[in-house]
Amino acid sequence: MNATVYLDHNATSPLQSLAKQRMVEVMDMEGNPSSVHTVGRQARRVVEEAREQMRQVINGPRNASLVFTSSGTEANTLALMGSNADRILVSAGEHASIMGINKALEHVVIDKNGLVDLDRLQTLLADKKGNALVSVMLANNETGAVQDLKTIVKLAHNVGALVHTDAVQALGKIKVDFSDLGVDMMSLSAHKTGGPLGVGALIVDANVKMNPINRGGGQESGLRGGTENIPAIAAFAVAAQHATADIGRMERVKILRDELEQEILKIAPQAQIMAQAVDRLPNTSFVTMPNVTSETQVMAFDLAGVCVSAGSACGSGKTKSSSVLSAMGVADDVAKTAVRVSFGPDSTKADMESFVSVYKDLYQRKAHNLNAA
């Protein structure tokens, strides 16, 4: 078996060693943070320190609530289900945890690069009265396209609407600044940023009125009942701090990603790179191999020890083509030939070259077969 090359960091990224160290340290402590005795208070301190660290990481206002959840999905659900908005507008390229919500959603069309059609958003917002919530992800999990969130916030705030952003994929890859973006709510997840699985967060500005989904012992300012997952929360803060303090390392990743795309276009000039024309996450490339299905590709890559994905992992193995691409207007026969490559902060040039070499072999073999047929 070949040494494994992992290029699926947008699905999940391994736990950073500093975060792991912190988690093990906290796991050795006893205590429920809601208990009043010393042990409980020590646990409470760990949670509150992590909350403050996270607030600083994303530059959240001091009076904002930062609610720790079990995942980015739960944070998204809380943001949309918990808000009192009369209407919710979401971009057509959102993550399944937004699209699948059990509430009426109005979809705002996206352009061929996956960016929200701002004119359409403005019209929809002006359309009806009532307090609206707009939910647009900061960076897309499949294409990496980064939305012009500041303008979206401006349009929304002009008519008194609130803005939630799913920043799960953005954290640690690009600058994520709650106050600078001006959003009212933001979802985060630890395991996409070198933190542990099983923890996420929703930041809620003080002006937003919220109801909980999970009712319980009044933890997390009443917004999320349940004993806090203390070791994971502590490790999340460490990972997020580390990833954002060292965001410069993504420059190197971007060079790798760009080189990969250049190489692919040399091999297959007809290959398409999704959302290439716009600002993207530095680690993500959603790229096609002409006439070869994503399914065939991921199998071939896996046999060669290269882990990539046909799109979002949440589709749970259903290998249907991406709803994001179809919302971008990408033709189905093109969409079903796309694979997502997502680098991590420690990915190497050799990793990139492995991908390119497998891509080249497969493409040439398939192209040959196609010509022969």
Partner: protein
Amino acid sequence: MTAQTWTQNNPLYLDYQATTPTDPRVVETMTPYWTEKFGNPHSRNHHFGWEAEDAVAIARERVASIIGASSKEVIFTSGATESNNLAIKGIAKFYGDQKNHIITCVTEHKCVLETCRSLQQDGFDVTYLHVKENGLIDLDDLKAAITEKTALVSIMAVNNEIGVIQPLAEIGKICRDNKVFFHTDAAQAVGKIPLDVETMNIDLMSISAHKMYGPMGVGALFVRRRPRVRLVPLIHGGGQERGMRSGTLPTPLVVGFGMACELAEKEMGAEAERLRGFQHRLYEGLRQRIPEIFINGDKENRVPGNLNISFAYVEGEGLMMGIKDLGVSSGSACTSASLEPSYVLRALGVEEELAHTSLRLGLGRFTTEEDIDYAIERISVEVNRLRELSPLWDMAQAGVDLKSIKWAEH
């Protein structure tokens, strides 16, 4: 063996109903899944994903096994609070059109009570059964409360404050006979007492990992397949967990939870016996050295790891201050931050003065006989010291009935 010195900053932990330390054997099985086996269990395209998926499947089997369920009936959640919310709201939302009545009990965990209250605001009817002096529900009350509109009965298996075990098999039978779903919050029960969803006719069961030496941040909801129970999910998204609970499964936590179940299933019998001995030693030790103490909750039907005791004539807060080298609670962790007397003890009819003087002593896997003796020594010295200072104790000793005194307002 040398006795450990406990201090305010390194107290003796006797609060196993609030949370339990993660068993080192559990940590060991989790560790590789944080780093070298870190895949997303829903990634179906590569080795890392499959490895994580397999590990989740084994863990699911282990959780199912300890409650006599099939692995297909286990939905992983972030903890028992989420499981309770999902079970109760999920049933209410699915069946609410035809059946809009829920029966629960006044001593349930806060998250069950608050969920029911929020459903009342949405137009559901909720019956809150009272409990007898021993903390158990009266089965005749339950039978009388069921109507043709009843969708769900939610009664906890073991109470988090007083440790009493409700008659699950009897409740299950009544529910099945009346074609009503039976949900039980078993956060304090799994791994402590034998449970079997088949013989007990349980349709939904909430489980927490961190109350049974597993990690925080993970739990499960058992959802029966035959006869089928259907739920409206709380968290939507990628459709994980049979569509009932979306979100990436935290593989390491799930693996740790599975291991915690396997260990508990293997060791439950011997551990219960050991703790039963400690429980007896603790109560007898305290009783011999402190007059006028009372056990709250049934003396027989309780888990061996819990003792809830009221110390008459002693102020609870003062007692807690005096035993800072013991990590104990005066009520459940979720509510003890407020100084109101416990609603559970009040529901038992415990007088307010006694409710204020109660301690919950939680024993568990890492408790030793030395710990028990240390606790007896410290609590008895402190209670007797506080009573020496108490005019109420003086009066009581002199034969004055304290209830006859008219206190001056000031």
